[in-house]
Each structure stands twice: as C-alpha cells, then as structure tokens.
Amino acid sequence: MFNFKKIKETQLWKSMFRHGYSDSERDRAMTVLTNVFFHLHPVKVRKSGARFGFTWCAGGLSFFVFLTLVVSGILLMFYYRPTVEYAYNDILALREHVPFGIMRELHRWGAHAMIITVWLHMFRVFMTGSYKPPREFNWVIGVILLVLTMLLSFTGYLLPWDQLAMWAITVGSNMARATPFLGHEGPGAALLSIGDIQLVHSGSDVRFALLGGRFVGAGALLRFYILHCVFIPTIAVVLMAVHFWRIRKDGGISGPL
C-alpha cells in the first residue's frame, strides 16, 4: 500500500482539505463550518431531530433527488431538440444509440420518486405538527414547492412527444379551458366582452397561453421545454434556498417547545 500520510502532507491536499480529522469536538464543528455544502446545516442539532425515525429523511432526500434530476436532465439536454420533427427521434436515438443509456430512465423514475418523496415530506411535517408557529410561512413555501414539483413533472411529460405524452398533456391542459373567466369554456368568460367582441375565446384564453396554440403542437412543445428546463427549476431553486434558510432561522429541525 502507498503511504497515505505523505499524500496528506502535499500542498495540493492541504490546499483542498485545510485540516486533518482528529475526532475532537472542534473538528466535528469545523467539518461542517468549513465545507460549503455541509454548512447548509448548523453545527449541532437536536438529538430528536437528527433521528431517521423522526424526519424519515424525506426532505433531504427530496433535495438529493432534485439534484440527481438536474444532473440527468442536463445530460439529456445534450441529445434532445424540442421541435416536432426531431423530439421523438432524439428520444429514440437516445434509447438505441447511446451505450448503456439509462439517463432517460434515471430522469423519468427520479421524477416519479421526487413526487413521492415530496408528498412523504409533507406527510411527515404534518404528522409531527412541525408546520406550527413559527414555521407557518415555511410550510406555505413547502406547499408551493410541492405544486412546482408536480408542474415540473407535468411539463416534462410532454417532451418525449409520443402518444402517451401528447394525450396526457391534452387531457391535463383541457382543464385550463374551463378556468372561470380566463378559459373560453369557463363560467363567466362570456361576460367579458366589449359589445359583440368576445375578449376570452379559444385563441386568447389561459389554455392558449399555456400551449402557445389551440391544441398540443409545436408551440406547446417549445413552451413546455422552456418551462421544464429553465423557468420552473429557477423558481424552485430560489424557493428551495428560502425554504432551507428559513428552517435554520425558525430554529432548525422542529422539536417540542
């Protein structure tokens, strides 16, 4: 075996890892404080809060799943073009020509998993009464993140551009047609008119805004691609930052008062 100690004395090693690890309280604290990733955490937490049996690790796992989705999603973006003529063939090529290609599987199953872990996280937070003051607003942010998670999955569902994708989005987006006042088949939409001119019709309602057209077509594909890859993730990341920061400011993982 090589001499590990010698490597640890090199300038390269020391520049990366500022200190060795001797198992002292000071070092345990320093490990968290001097690492940009670990320092999302405080140095110390309630013993009850550190238990797997209390948190089920569902929130942390949701974040980890999100990171794996970002990585696999970026890899997929190298192969995928969001146009009607290329989208399906790119997915087909991804399956048939990329060696050991499980990227799409990692991304799709990861998306399903994230929905389950986010629901599970909400379930745990409710069952432990962790939404109560002073954590009310963080619960609200959590609910928004939960909705964003489902919207992320929903927008991604269209991208393979197969029958499953197109008709699932058709069924889903048909609901928008019936939005009160804003959808052309929604209650109240008929009231919004100037003289004989209807303000809300199938070419101007909320469904049209979502799909960029009257049906799920090229416009919808591009919109969903941008919503899925840029728009919603950006909002989600900002809200996640607030969500994590507020956990710290509201007193860490919840415990009995």
Partner: protein
C-alpha cells in the same frame, strides 16, 4: 392424477375468487369500504397499529397482490412502467402512516402517564451534525441512488408511437399524480374538478398553520390531542387523493368506465347514462310539472340547497360539535376552517349522490357554463 386434480381445484378457486372480487367491485363499494376501514383506523389507532392487527393486514395485502399477479390483466396494469411507482407509493405511504400512528400512540400513552414524549426527552440534548446527521443523509442518498440505478436498469422508460393528433388513445389519461383530479371529472365539471378544487387544495394546505396554531403539540408525534386535525388531513390525503388516483389508474378503462381489478378492459362495455339534474328531479319527477323557462326559477331548489349547505352546518357546528373551536378560533378563523371542511366533504357527497340517485348537477346553468 390426484395432484392434477388438486391443481385444477386451486385454479378454480382462484377464478372464483377473482370473479367474486370483480362482482363486488364498484366505485361505491370500494369507496365505502375504504371509508369504513379508515374510520376504524382513526377510532382505534392503538389496536390498529398493534402487531395483532397490522401483521395480518400486511399478509392479506400481499396475499391479494400475490393472487392478483396470477391474473394477466392485473399484472399488465400493475407492471405498466408508469404505474410501478404508484404501487410502490401505496406500500411506502401505508408503512409510514402505520409508523407515524404507532409513534403517536406511544407518545399519547406516555403523556397520559405524565411522562415526557420520546422527542421531549431528547430535545434539549444536542448532537454534532457531523457525523450523526450527515452519515444518515449519506446512507439514505446512497440507498436511493443504488435503488434508482437498479430500477432504471430493470424497467425501460415507456415510449409509445410518435405523437399523432388524429388518433386519441382510449382511455386518455393525465400523468398519474393528476388522476385523482381526472377522476373528479366524473362528478364535477372541469371548472370545479380541474380548477376550483385544485386551487382550494393548495389554499387549504397553505392555511393549515394559520388555522391550527396550537404550539403545545408542535414537533412530536401525537394523536389524541390532534385527533380532529390529523383525521381531516389523513382522510383528505388517503381517501380524496390517493384512493382517487388508484381509481383513475387501475380501475378506469376505455371511455373512463369502471372495471374490477381482474376485469379485462372491454372497449365495448356500455354503461347507460341515466344521470339527471336536481331541477328535473324536483319539477318533473316530484312536482309533475314541466321545467320553468327562466333559469333562476328552474335552478332555485339547487341554489337554495347549496346556500343551506354552506350556511346552516357552520352555525349548527358552532353550537355543538365545534363549540370549543369556535370560541377559541374566533369567527374568521372558524369560518375558514368550516368552509374548507364543507368544500372538502362536498366531493364525497356529490359522489354518493351520483351513485345513489344518478344525480348529475345540483345547479345546472349551461347558459353560463355554470354547473355544480
């Protein structure tokens, strides 16, 4: 010979069992059964989370799945790639519901004896995040990563024919996490099932911490002191969300017809549409006259009924069942709580009205796309 006879006997038994399950399967029987089981669970949480009840329940569920897997149709539905996570989810949430309730019951017993809860014992003790928490996170992330890779290797992501706007598959289904909403379309118009109710679910969830501000039960598992809140949440989650997703995924076939778990999805199954509106029931069937011409006269019974539903129960509950909450919460918080509850319960009410009386709309004003 004797062995062959036995095998045949077992196969016959299986067929009989599957036919029996199919024959008793309908939206109303399954829904009612789940409501009853849920009622028993929240009424007797201590007994239901004990090994004596939980273990046989687990064995029964696995037995059902085991028998189910011998059926071609059931296996096909369960193993459709996008449905696999739902099956996983049922087991995950069943387990964690049991686990949370078990911890809650344990803490309830401790509090009754005047002892601190498990969390209260440890809450003032602090541990270093490194290594205690980071190791847990590391192991969980590792287990998940390995699990995901295995899952991805074993199961291909689905890819059907290229998108074709002229050929619509039957049934056309939304992604599985929205199938609860799609199932609601059977009972409500799209503006309620697809817009109003989802908005109310989101707003209702957001309002939870502003309605329930009692911090004495914050940060640990317990049930007795939060019986009302936890029952509301669990019933909404399990019955109105997860169960409806299961309906939409596993039991709704072509034309959104209902099929038993072992029933082949027959595209030609005809279900007579005999739904009637409340106005037709009142004016034609009960009063024996024609429908009034003006919509506000025609729909007066329905509008009165809905006004009654939204106004009377809150007043009655404030004097009876929710008296303490009314005095404690004040009129605004109380009204929001009761309104959300009534709107939540309106879904199963509408479902039962459909099943019992074939009732389509309580208020139907197609002139304004306004149907309830």
């Amino acid at each position: 010979m004797r062995w062959v006879w036995n095998l045949e006997f077992i196969l016959n038994m299986l067929e009989t069992f599957k036919e029996f399950i199919n024959s008793i399967s309908s939206p109303v029987t399954i829904f009612t059964a789940v409501v009853i089981i849920f009622g028993i669970f929240v009424t007797f949480p201590r007994q239901c989370t004990s090994k004596k009840v939980a273990l046989p329940a687990v064995i029964l569920v696995f037995l059902f799945f085991g028998i189910g897997l011998t059926d071609d149709h059931f296996r096909k539905i369960i193993s459709t790639p996008d449905n696999v996570p739902i099956v996983g989810m049922i087991f995950i949430f069943s387990y964690f519901t049991w686990y949370a309730m078990k911890k809650a019951v344990e803490n309830d017993q401790r509090m009754e004896k005047g002892e601190p809860t498990i969390e209260q014992v440890e809450t003032n003790e602090k541990v270093y995040v490194f290594p205690y928490l980071i190791y847990i996170e590391f192991v969980v992330a590792l287990v998940y990563a390995v699990g995901l890779v295995l899952w991805s290797l074993l199961l291909k992501a689905p890819l059907e024919e290229p998108a074709n706007p002229t050929v619509s598959p039957n049934p056309s289904k939304a992604p599985w996490y929205f199938l609860g909403l799609q199932e609601m379309l059977v009972y409500f118009d799209p503006w309620i099932a697809g817009v109003l109710l989802p908005t109310l679910i989101i707003l209702g969830l957001c309002s939870i911490p502003y309605i329930d501000r009692d911090t004495s039960t914050s940060g640990f598992y317990c049930f007795k002191k939060r019986r009302f809140g936890i029952t509301c949440f669990l019933s909404g989650f399990w019955i109105l969300w997860i169960l409806l997703i299961l309906y939409g995924t596993f039991l709704r076939g072509p034309n959104w017809n209902f099929f038993g778990p072992f029933e082949e999805w027959d595209i030609h199954k005809v279900v007579p549409l005999v739904n009637v509106n409340l106005s037709e029931l009142v004016f034609i069937k009960w009063l024996g006259m024609g429908l009034p011409k003006q919509w506000y006269l025609r729909e007066a019974p329905g509008i009165l009924l809905i006004a009654f539903y939204l106004l009377v129960p809150p007043a009655v509950l404030a004097k009876t069942f929710l008296k303490e909450r009314y005095t404690q919460y004040g009129i605004i918080r109380y009204s929001i709580l009761v309104m959300l509850m009534l709107l939540m319960i309106s879904l199963p009410i509408k479902m039962y009205l459909r099943w019992a009386f074939n009732l389509k709309y309580i208020v139907a004003i197609p002139e304004y796309f306004f149907n309830i």
